[in-house]
Amino acid sequence: MIQIKDLHKTFGKVPVLKELNLTIKDSGIFAILGPNGSGKTTLIKSILGMVVPDKGEILIDGKSTKGQWEHRQKINYLPQIANFPSNLSVIEVIEMIKNIRNSKTRDGDLVELFKLQPFLNKKLANLSGGTRQKVNIILTFMFDDPILILDEPTTGLDPLSLIHLKSLIKEAKEKGKTILITSHIMQFVEEISDEIVFLLDGKIYFKGSVKLLKETYNEQDLEHAIAALLNVQYD
């Protein structure tokens, strides 16, 4: 379980997260939605400990993450921008992360699934954005840890890879993992998520199922429901 209590974060003079309280129970797919600059990535990075919050507390399974690093052993993170050391080859990065995390992996199956064998010995700098994203996905899904955090996982993927990604996410859910996803593709969110957390200006404006959101705003699809939610907030 992830508990976030009274989280504050300011970048320079811009407040990004304000008194954010959120509890994410174990197992299930949670979509964190919100317009650009609403604090989604900051929230995710705070959970990981990459961003240091100004105030507040984050507990994972009851333990505070402040100044800790051990909790990252439980988290597999897919960053929004697939930045890799450009002079390493795909296989070297995979081996490096395996070596650092020191746990069981299934990278072979995933390389096969995403047909990455021809790229294994290529330098990451020379790969296309979509291929790099596939490497990113492999690095995240090759481990079997209880929490998955996916920041814009669909970026640059072709339709076939998207299907593979969805099946990987569903498989992870069946194993009882907690999965946090951010995405701007509502169709994708609607299809896979169990619960939605809507962030706006660093605060949570809605938390509940897709169905509840649609009913609340009396809309047929998620996209319009979100638009309605935004309209109400800005009015």
Binding site: K45, M50, V52, W69, P79
Partner: protein
């Protein structure tokens, strides 16, 4: 830590720059020995180069490596690794690889020349040792500057300024103050002023080891009294050590508060 260090080290060993640096010292060593045809003189020339060049290379590589390995750092930050481990690992990887270029690059030509059988082997070792110390110190200082500046150009500029200050401007100020306060006893002051700049400290350390301090007159005698003793040697190497430890402490502190 060892894992991070290993990756940083391999990463650098594969880059062309490490080799260029190594080849530079190799050529320098051979050329100096060939031109001087005398180990003593070659070592004095070498000292002048090392005292200025290792800080410069340490500074430039330190800043460049920090900015260039940003992706690597971000990838590691999401893994179960302590922050201080990541940065200290990178720092040691970089410093060790630069020092290795220095040691091998100069060691090989001097070995060929028969430094092992000469009386000044200790001087040579001191020289290399000081070069390695300066590399560690300036990489640490450069890392500090890079950590505090998101903007690459700014970071690079400050780092070069820092080097310029330590290597050139400090000496200028030092000399001016000696001239201005000519009427006062300055031996204590100059001793202190020397200790607070790693470049000067290294230079004096080598000069005294080379036994040419007589050239420096009365102050030289004071210096000799201090640095020439075992106590002085230990004190100055501890001072160089502090020049590594304090910047490292700041790296750890700064890194633990930074957002990525």
């Amino acid at each position: 830590m060892i894992k991070i260090l290993k990756y940083s080290f391999y990463d650098l060993m594969r880059s062309r720059w490490s080799y260029a640096y190594f080849v530079f010292y190799l050529l320098l060593g051979f050329v100096l020995l060939f031109l001087n045809n005398n180990l003593d003189k070659a070592i004095i020339t070498l000292m002048n180069i090392i005292v200025i060049l290792t800080p410069l290379i340490g500074t430039v590589f330190g800043v460049m490596y920090y900015y260039n390995s940003k992706e690597f750092t971000e990838l590691l930050l999401a893994q179960p690794v302590k922050r201080s481990t990541i940065f200290l690992g990178q720092f040691i990887g970089l410093s060790v690889s630069l020092s290795l270029s220095l040691v091998l690059g100069l060691g090989i030509p001097f070995l060929f020349y028969g430094i092992m059988n000469s009386a000044i082997i200790l001087n040579f070792i001191t020289l290399i040792f000081v070069g390695a110390f300066l590399t560690f110190i300036f990489v640490a200082l450069a890392y500090n500057i890079a950590l505090s500046n998101e903007n690459k150009i700014k970071g690079f500029g400050y780092a070069i300024l820092m080097w310029l200050f330590m290597a050139v401007i400090y000496d200028g100020l030092f000399l001016i103050s000696l001239l201005v306060f000519d009427d006062y006893p300055l031996d204590q002051f100059s001793l202190f002023a020397t200790v607070f700049n790693p470049v000067d400290l290294s230079r004096i350390l080598i000069l005294l080891k080379l036994d040419i301090s007589a050239l420096m007159g009365y102050t030289g005698a004071v210096f000799k009294d201090f640095f020439g003793t075992i106590f002085g040697l230990i004190a100055s190497f501890s001072m160089l050590m502090l020049w590594i430890i304090f910047p490292l402490l700041r790296i750890v502190r700064k890194a633990s508060r930074k957002d990525f």
